[in-house]
């Protein structure tokens, strides 16, 4: 998933909405990526899950009181196998806003939801930034990428 995503990201970045009028209806896409350490579902139990963080983030976004229709989630995906803690998570969204200000507000709230999802997963598993597991970062990291969703 990630490789394909990254290959196409550069192309899609060119399709941002920078040229639209600030007062016109704004539409676009956002991809929210989560990254964690992954691992064996049993042997490494207790590690953070990037997919669990993504699920949590969606719920935080629902609680953000955005106008209905301002976003549509077109994809939630992550992980490679049922018996592995997911090292990756991805939420893809289509956005619609009345104007540039409202659009920026939606992106801002998506960013806040992503942070809250990552923070909640880190807190549930008792890890913080800087912690490592087997040499890899133990905490969930996230990035919010306007214009990079594939769907």
């Amino acid at each position: 998933m990630n490789t394909q995503f990254l290959k196409k990201a550069a192309c899609l970045a060119a399709l941002t909405l920078a040229g639209l009028s600030a007062h016109a209806q704004q539409t676009g896409t956002v991809a929210v990526e989560f990254q964690g350490p992954g691992g064996h579902s049993s042997g490494n139990y207790g590690r953070t899950s990037a997919l669990h963080a993504a699920g949590r983030a969606v719920i935080f976004l629902q609680q953000a009181n955005l106008p209905r229709g301002s976003y549509t989630i077109t994809n939630v995906t992550g992980g490679n196998s049922v018996n592995s803690i997911a090292s990756d998570g991805l939420i893809e969204l289509q956005l619609t806003a009345a104007d540039a200000t409202a659009y920026a507000d939606v992106v801002s709230k998506i960013t806040a939801a992503a942070k809250a999802g990552a923070d909640a997963e880190n807190a549930f598993r008792g890890v913080k930034a800087g912690d490592t597991t087997a040499g890899a970062p133990a905490h969930i990291r996230y990035t919010v990428n306007p214009g990079l969703a594939l769907r």
Partner: protein, 588 residues
């Protein structure tokens, strides 16, 4: 929608009960056996039930000494101790581990092993017991979860079946199994035929472990292979081939992390199983019972232990194994003496868009995400109570169908959950916490849109897959496998433990153990360091080849104790296990 709360529980409970009672073992047998006829031990109330307490019979101690001191065995091990053999093992491992082998799509790996069996490892076609199409003669479970089973097995023929008085089960003479799995978590699916191989990337220890797939993909130091699949012995090969005692030595000595899926889990051990098979053939090692050495399919991911279910005739809807090939013992190669096995339940749930979808409808991705978020907050029995056994879960995978062109409506999303515990009670307890969250996610999303459950305007849910790894709790430690496993370590000096491992694993061995066939677990790998199993950053560093040979020595000894052995001096070590294997169901 299937009621996933009740009927599976009764199946598992029945399976455990039957396994505890032992299976029938006396159909269609001949008379007057030619060799020792010790029956497979059944639980004896007079023997200790503490899994740490067992008594190794003196004949097993003697057998181990005899086998370990045998001239032909020594010749085999001396041959494997050469620098040439060590290099050959290492190269074979690299050449196999580069073959992408996702669970249930192991056909390319199995094909390569099959061709090496006859073209390089010295076996005749009749000694190869598996086929490219996944069909295995003699079993009553050839298809698991609707898919073929790509096992790769070879036989070291024993003498027992040539006796007119040999006992058998439905025509199947006794066999000892030695196996390691050939599937790997990553990549998730089979890559295209035009680019079928994993990249093997090298990274100095002076650099930190990669954090993202992009960082891994950016490593340009790779191992290269020629058109026939042989590793090219260039500068990078030389760097990757350096041997170290441990990670600290590798860091100090210019070692590298060798990134490739399956390095530790578990081609470094499975590949050496076939080295051992070829060596047994080359040195004409002749057991009494047949010995099968197998690369098994379907251990990882949604594999559902398909390879073992084929070998042991384990019908998952019944929760019983017919042991149609009559294995009397099973030697796994994925661990350190594990004899207790975690049970697991696995579910794949699909959340589906309303039958009449439109804009402003509840969302399948958000329903699935709600379920994931709720599951993510579950605390297992062992997180809630100190006296509960370690119990785990994860939502391992999720995905959504793409919307139709021009539509924002996602048709469906699916998640996969794994949950494990060593005993049925706590496994059921965590299932009872998790399974309702599937429905809760659905209900929450429908409620956001005031949709009536079950209506055409509401989201719906379907269970599309169920996975079962049957649990096994050792209550009777006096088994031939444990005797051979422990004694082989003591005799060869490779393991001084005199007690069994009381922790639980989740391995291929779940199937034979639950079916009543005794098991023990070893490794044939020698890795100086490694991490990242099941993750994109799985890596390892080559360990001492001498350790591989020591471990081969132990596995060979343990296997031949149980199968029996025609020693170089003309004497016969009698099998330590009876000729009819246990089962929890008769062959259909």
């Amino acid at each position: 929608m299937i009621d996933i709360n009740n009927w599976r529980l009764s199946v598992i409970t029945a399976a455990l009960f039957l396994a505890a009672c032992g299976g029938s073992n006396d159909t269609q047998v001949a008379t007057t056996p030619p060799v020792s006829e010790k029956p497979t031990p059944s639980p004896d109330p007079s023997t200790p039930t503490d899994p740490n307490k067992f008594v190794i019979p003196p004949e097993v101690v003697a057998a181990a000494a005899k086998i370990d001191g045998d001239a032909q065995i020594k010749a085999l091990l001396a041959d494997q101790s050469s620098a040439t053999a060590a290099k050959s093992r290492w190269n074979q491992f690299l050449e196999l581990v580069k073959i992408a082998s996702p669970s249930r799509s192991e056909l390319r790996m199995a094909a390569e092993i099959h061709q090496r069996m006859t073209n390089e490892w010295g076996f005749s076609p009749t000694e190869v017991k598996t086929r490219a199409d996944g069909i295995m003669y003699g079993t009553d479970v050839n298809v698991v979860d609707g898919l073929p089973v790509y096992n790769a097995c070879v036989e070291i023929k024993g003498s027992y079946s040539s006796s007119a008085a040999a006992k058998h089960y439905n025509g199947q003479f006794p066999k000892v199994l030695v196996e390691g799995h050939i599937d790997v978590v990553n990549p998730e699916s089979l890559p295209p035929a035009g680019d079928p191989f994993n990249k093997i990337r090298l990274q100095p220890f002076s650099q930190p472990v990669v954090e993202t797939p992009a960082q891994l993909a950016a490593i340009n130091d790779v191992l290269r292979f020629d058109a026939t699949g042989r590793v090219i012995e260039d500068t990078n090969y030389g760097i990757a081939s350096k041997v170290f005692a441990n990670e600290a030595a590798a860091k100090d000595g210019g070692g590298v992390r060798v990134y490739v899926p399956g390095y530790g889990d578990m081609m470094s051990s499975t590949s050496n199983a076939f080295v051992l098979a070829a060596a047994m053939k080359k040195f004409k090692i002749r057991p009494v019972y047949d010995v099968w050495i197998c690369g098994t399919a379907g251990e990882e991911g949604k594999g559902n232990l398909a390879g073992m279910k084929q070998l042991f005739g384990f019908e998952q809807d019944l929760g019983t194994g017919s042991n149609p090939l009559n294995f009397v013992s099973s030697m796994g190669l994925e661990g350190g003496g594990t004899v207790n096995f975690l049970g697991s339940y696995r579910f794949e749930m699909k959340f589906k868009a309303p039958v009449t979808p439109g804009s402003g409808d509840p969302s399948a991705p958000e329903a699935m995400a709600a379920a994931i978020a709720k599951i993510a907050d579950v605390k297992t029995p062992s997180e809630l109570r100190k006296d509960a056994p370690r119990t785990t879960y994860t939502v391992g995978r999720a995905s959504c169908e793409a919307p139709a062109a021009g539509s924002g409506v996602v048709p469906s999303c699916s998640l996969e959950v794994d949950m494990r515990s060593p005993i049925t009670e706590t496994l059921n307890e965590v299932r009872a916490s998790i399974v309702p969250q599937f429905q809760a996610g659905l209900v929450a999303e429908n409620a956001r849109y005031n949709r009536t459950e079950g209506s055409a305007q509401a989201l719906s849910m379907e269970q599309v897959w169920y996975g079962l790894r049957p649990a096994f709790v050792l209550t009777q430690p006096n088994t031939p496998a444990i005797h051979a496993g422990i004694q082989s370590g003591l005799t060869t000096g490779t393991d001084t433990r005199t007690t069994v491992n009381t922790s639980s694993g989740s391995l291929n061995d779940n199937v034979p153990a639950n079916t009543g066939v005794p098991t023990y677990n070893f490794t044939l790998a020698s890795n100086a360091a490694g991490a990242g199993g099941h993750a994109f950053w799985e890596w390892g560093t080559r360990g001492a080849p001498e350790l591989e040979v020591q471990r081969m020595r132990r596995v060979l000894t343990a296997t031949l104790i149980q199968s029996g052995y025609h020693a170089a001096d003309g004497t016969i070590v009698q099998p330590s296990v009876g000729p009819i294997g246990n089962r929890t169901r008769e062959v259909r």
